[in-house]
């Protein structure tokens, strides 16, 4: 089959590789019909998460058709149209039973790396390095899906492929941030980052009853999408003082919940951008946390800051004093998609959740290296590059 492989730092190529096999009785093989780039892939491609091996297949956000079924699979049959959660979870360990699926004890067959880095290992993820299990990614014509009864979800007939695709990760991640950030009716929610995940976090905040949702970015086309498709107010941090704007918008209080959907390669304005860049390049910090810092400062007293963007290890100049003295709740998580995908698909079927606008550039998998470059450079207003592996 054809697959998009990481071949070195900032190097990708489409290669012919072996087809996947059923390895466990609860596996299915999915013929991938659509897969999308994700901002978190850029951390892998750029070597910021250095646990890729040359030849590893990228991709974790996808949907497709079941073409082969393991002997213990009960919920799926050949021919089913499914969207697959990007995280791999067994559904039966204590964490899965608490619906903390990305923390699954059994989804990562290679726990040593993340146990050394973080103390304990989270679950596995498709195409997200050997630190997250070494599972082959979904930017391929076929992909093996472990624990398929738990991680693959039938797509309702009334939901088109391009909409369903984003239930796999973007929407489910957004739902994770708003739900675990405990957005309540009447809240004002600020979201840093107007990419796919940020827009979906804003949509999730509305779904949980927020009264006001503000999305912050610097890319005009993404802010326009947040306004048009998610009905959010928007702020461009290159044009205005975000802290001042948020205080003015919230009667001087600050947002109740601040969701950071940017991650370890954040940009900001002013000297802190230079500071973070230099420290990151000198390896004195692995991640640039400028959006988190801003969220901590902007958040109201007693509010919640949720880190939804991906971070790898250590950051500098973290405003812990503000967290403590303002009585903030600081929380983070990878996505617990198994918990939210059914609700997301229901909302898609009802027409109350729109996602297909995120697919600004749709192309053959053969063009995926070019698609990732466009996505990285935000060329031509690229919000997401979506790949069709069988075109």
């Amino acid at each position: 089959m054809r697959a998009l492989c990481w071949t070195g730092v900032n190097k990708l190529s489409v290669e012919t590789v072996d087809d996947p096999q059923l390895l466990n009785s609860e596996d299915v093989i999915v013929k991938v019909t659509l897969g999308t780039s994700c901002g978190s892939d850029l951390h892998l491609i750029g070597g910021y998460i250095p646990f890729m091996r040359a030849g590893d297949i990228l991709g974790h956000e996808f949907m497709g058709e079941v073409v082969e079924v393991g002997s213990a699979v009960r919920k799926h049959q050949v021919g089913d149209r499914v969207v697959v959660c990007s995280f791999i979870a067994c559904g039966r360990c204590w964490y899965c039973r608490q619906q903390l699926f990305s923390l699954c004890d059994n989804g990562n067959p290679n726990p040593a790396i993340t146990e050394a880095l973080w103390g304990f290992a989270p679950g596995g993820c498709f195409g997200y390095s050997h630190a997250m299990g070494g599972h082959a990614g979904s930017h391929a014509q076929y992909v093996r899906v472990p624990y398929a009864d738990h991680g693959a979800f039938p797509v309702p007939d009334g939901v088109d492929d391009m909409t369903a695709l984003f239930a796999s990760d973007s929407a489910a991640t957004g739902w994770t941030g708003a739900d675990l950030g405990e957005v309540r009716p009447g809240d004002t929610v600020a979201v840093w980052g107007a990419g796919g995940v940020g827009q979906m976090a804003a949509a999730a905040a509305w779904a949980r009853g927020a009264e006001r949702v503000v999305v912050i970015d610097r890319l005009v086309n993404r802010l326009q999408q947040a306004e048009q498709h998610v009905s959010a107010e928007t702020l461009n941090y290159e044009e205005t003082d975000i802290g001042g704007e948020l205080r003015e918008l919230t009667g001087g209080r600050g947002p109740d919940v601040c969701i950071e959907a940017v991650g370890m390669e954040a940009h900001t304005t002013g000297p802190m951008q230079v500071y973070d860049q230099v420290k990151q390049q000198l390896r004195l910090q692995t991640d640039r946390p400028s959006a988190v810092r801003e969220a901590v400062h902007a958040c109201r007293k007693g509010g919640t800051v949720f880190t939804l963007g991906v971070f790898a290890a250590v950051v500098d100049k973290f405003p812990l004093g503000a967290v403590m003295n303002k009585g903030l709740t600081l929380r983070g998580a990878q996505m617990h998609g198994h918990r939210y995908i059914p609700e997301i698909l229901e909302r898609m079927e009802a027409g109350t959740l729109k996602t297909s606008h995120l697919a600004t550039h749709v192309m053959s998998l053969e063009d995926a290296p070019k698609g990732y470059q466009m996505f990285k450079d935000k060329e031509d207003g690229c919000v997401r590059a979506v790949f069709r592996p069988h075109d």
Binding site: E26, R53, I57, D105, N110, I113, A116, H130
Partner: protein, 160 residues
């Protein structure tokens, strides 16, 4: 140094620091100067004790280690399931050379792997496999060899 290379080296450095810290911890000494015995290795299985070890029977990976290990099975607090703790009866078994550890053959690694596999067998019914996974052309580099080694012993190492 190219940017990409420096990124990889830097981030690997963070991982290496964590590993060194771990190794340091494991060779710590008691206040009287005597080397401490290795800790019990413990997993918690999300099952009640009567299902995790019915009539005291251990799952196969642990049973295979026979009398070489001592095992304690006890309920976890807060309805979190059952704790299974194990260690070698003979402390000499716990001390292995670096070579056997690199090869994934040290007794400590075998016990850790047995505990992890036991937990998966009890909770899920089988051990999750990841290999063979399809992949593109592999280049022969020191970094790749290191990655391969880390992956090989991934289930046998860690903080468990």
């Amino acid at each position: 140094m190219r940017l990409g290379t420096s990124v990889v080296v830097g981030a690997l450095g963070v991982g290496a620091a964590a590993l060194v810290r771990r190794l340091w911890t494991r060779t710590s000494t008691q206040a009287d100067g005597a080397t401490t015995r290795e800790r019990w290795l413990v997993v918690t299985v999300a099952l009640p004790q009567e299902e995790a070890a019915p009539d005291g029977r251990l799952p196969e990976p642990l049973a295979e280690l026979g009398d070489r290990i001592e095992v304690e099975v006890r309920p976890a607090p807060g309805d979190k399931g059952t704790e299974i703790a194990a260690r070698y009866r003979d402390p000499k078994e716990e001390h292995a050379g670096l070579a056997s550890r690199v090869e994934g053959e040290s007794p400590r690694q075998q016990l850790r792997s047995a505990l992890r596999r036991s937990k998966q067998l009890l909770e899920v019914g089988e051990v999750l496999r990841v290999s063979p996974a399809p992949h593109g052309e592999r280049s022969a580099t020191p970094g790749g060899a290191l990655q391969e080694l880390v992956t090989e012993v991934g289930r046998k190492e860690g903080r468990l």
